[in-house]
């Protein structure tokens, strides 16, 4: 690990919901204030602010990082917005890490926020603006198409039964029953997922996470500041490794069955953490659990393979057999994920990074994994299917 040692010392979350009364700025204030309170500090102690939020098209307010600055606590401070589509929520704490590791800042406040309910009547028209503008938009695509194409390719390549993929919706929506931010925690059966409305075969309604409004914030500090503030180490999660990677936007010239960019991002993070053996068996022992990005149920599996946590084509059966349940050998998405907690884009991946912190510090309440957890991973994905962002953290007392 290069640079200064950096720890995450607190998180703050709002509820996730289909439509919030609060403005984006007000949501950002809620989560940012909560993160500061939980760290026992105030805005005066902060020397850098990072904002993560996805397409401006949802808000109809351009350059919304400026708009979000007040709520995120960022005015009159070095404030920046990083934006890598759905990958943003994990990229923002990565930016927090490098702004402290570099020595530029000692205490950073990071806020990921999304309000998707503003665009009428649905967010789909906003999503259209991310498709290629010359040879794709005139075909009248819907964002669900592209996931359906990728899911079909993945299933076809490995001969994956739909039931195996559907089991991820059952697991994650069930886990979300224990998450206080969750909008869609529910007990479901595989049959209910399989029999839900077909939107774009093979994608059914219950394969998809719901669009949402919400915000998640973090405080990250240098080791020196953690000592100075007297923050106990059992409230700290150290950044162990980070990685991100972007593939070509010419997505029709890539085999969608496998996310190579996620592999590259993951290996970058593992190597940074000193973990050079990338075999699935070793990595599943090294990591106690994972929060891979799950906007669609198959994506959790697709990403577990890209992350090298399961061999190619092997994640679906493992999920179906319960290996990735919260109380099993290798818990995956103990939070309930985007499928269950909700998908306010940047905040959704922020929620996943927050879950890694909460699990490592024993603050996950009813969601706490019933075994010792020493190291966890959050991963997000986005742009038009070509960016992977990976954050590995370890417990405050783990060497």
């Amino acid at each position: 690990m290069k640079g200064k040692k950096v720890g995450m010392v607190s998180v703050g979350l709002t509820k996730f919901m289909r439509r919030a009364k609060e403005t984006p700025k007000e949501l950002a204030y809620y989560s940012a204030k909560m993160a500061l309170d939980n760290a026992g500090i105030t805005r005066k102690d902060v020397d850098g602010v990072i904002i993560g939020s996805a397409p401006d098209a949802f808000d109809g307010v351009h350059q919304k990082h400026e708009y979000l600055t007040d709520g995120s606590g960022g005015f009159n401070l070095p404030t920046m917005r990083g934006y890598v589509g759905g990958g943003t929520g994990v990229f923002s704490p990565i930016q927090g890490w490098y702004s402290v590791a570099s020595g530029m800042n000692d205490v950073v406040l990071i806020t990921t926020e999304e309000k998707m309910s503003t665009i009428q009547p649905s967010a789909q028209a906003g999503f259209l603006t991310i498709f290629d503008n010359m040879i794709e938009r005139n075909l009248g695509p819907n964002l669900v198409w592209i996931f359906a194409l990728e899911m079909k390719r993945y299933m076809e390549k490995h001969g994956i039964p739909k039931e195996h993929i559907a089991s991820v919706s059952v697991k994650n929506k069930g886990n979300a029953l224990d998450h206080p931010s969750a909008m869609l925690g529910q007990k479901l059966t595989i049959e209910q997922v399989m029999n839900s409305e077909v939107l774009a075969d093979p994608v059914h309604l219950l394969d998809i996470s719901p669009v949402a409004d919400g915000a998640v914030s973090f405080v990250m500090m240098s080791e020196d500041k953690i000592k100075e503030f007297g923050i106990p180490l059992d409230q700290v999660a150290w950044v162990d490794g980070v990685g991100w990677n972007v593939d070509t936007t010419i997505w029709t010239n890539r085999d969608l069955y496998y996310p190579k960019y996620v592999e590259k991002a993951a290996k970058q993070a593992y190597n940074m953490a000193g973990q050079k053996d990338h075999s699935p068996e070793t990595l599943r022992k090294w990591l106690s659990f994972a929060e891979p990005y799950d906007p669609f149920n198959y994506k959790e599996l697709h990403h577990l393979e890209g992350l090298q946590l399961f061999g190619k084509g092997e994640a679906p059966r493992a999920a179906f057999e319960g290996v990735t349940a919260r109380d099993s050998d290798f818990p995956v998405t103990p939070s309930g994920g985007l499928l269950g907690v909700g998908n306010p884009i940047a905040a959704a991946a922020g929620m996943k990074a927050a879950e890694v912190y909460l699990q490592l510090t024993g603050q996950a309440g009813k969601r706490q994994i019933p075994k010792d957890v020493t190291r966890g991973l959050a991963q997000a994905w986005g742009d038009l299917m070509q960016v992977g962002t990976v954050l590995v953290m370890k417990g405050g007392q783990v060497q």
């Binding site: 979350l13 709002t14 509820k15 996730f16 919901m17 289909r18 439509r19 919030a20 009364k21 609060e22 949501l27 809620y30 909560m34 309170d37 939980n38 109809g60 309910s117 009428q120 009547p121 649905s122 789909q124 028209a125 259209l128 503008n133 010359m134 040879i135 794709e136 005139n138 075909l139 009248g140 695509p141 819907n142 669900v144 198409w145 359906a148 194409l149 990728e150 079909k152 390719r153 076809e156 206080p180 931010s181 077909v198 939107l199 774009a200 075969d201 093979p202 994608v203 409004d213 919400g214 070509t248 010419i250 029709t252 010239n253 890539r254 085999d255 969608l256």
Partner: protein
């Protein structure tokens, strides 16, 4: 600590609380650049173009002005066959605006013949009258064009792709 955020129902939002509305009118006209202009002019003439990289020898579609691998010029345009295979597809009942249609559209990634990497091609549609049991990954397809008078240099100059019978 109590999590905050105030949930509004659809009814509350539409009928009971204040909202401010705005309908943006934004028109865009994109210059189609060097390579895609060649591609779209080709479609107008009923031809599918790819490009070849002089450095790595890849032949790819859609054409590009530079090779994204070698980062060198890619200026040798190659006329490709009007056939390919379905790399992946979907039976889509959802339109751009999220409204539903009763009959599926069939978007697919068409891996165009004559390219040297797989897949290499573009997003298009399979004839929606095709019986669904005939639409398969790796099925051979051919381009079905609009009439020359109707073509205007747009991706929709190809009406759709039809499955080729063996």
């Amino acid at each position: 600590m109590e999590l905050r955020g105030t949930k509004l129902s659809n009814d509350e939002f539409l009928n009971k609380v204040l909202s401010v509305t705005y309908y943006p009118e934004l028109d865009y006209a994109w210059a189609t650049g060097v390579a895609i202009t060649k591609f779209l002019n080709g479609l107008k003439e009923g031809v599918i173009y790819g490009t070849k990289c002089n450095e790595c020898s890849r032949v790819v579609c859609p054409p590009r002005m530079f090779c994204e691998e070698c980062h060198t010029p890619m200026n040798e345009y190659v006329e490709l066959p009007q056939t390919g295979i379905i790399n992946t597809f979907s039976l889509a009942y959802i339109r751009t605006d999220a409204t539903r249609r009763d009959k599926a559209e069939i978007p697919a990634v068409i891996d165009i013949d004559g390219t040297t990497i797989s897949p290499s091609g573009f997003l298009h549609l399979i004839n929606e009258d095709t019986p669904h049991d005939k639409v398969k990954v790796n099925a051979k397809v051919k381009a079905v064009w609009k009439s020359p008078e109707e073509r205007k240099g747009d991706i929709t100059d190809i009406k759709y792709f039809d499955i080729m019978e063996d």
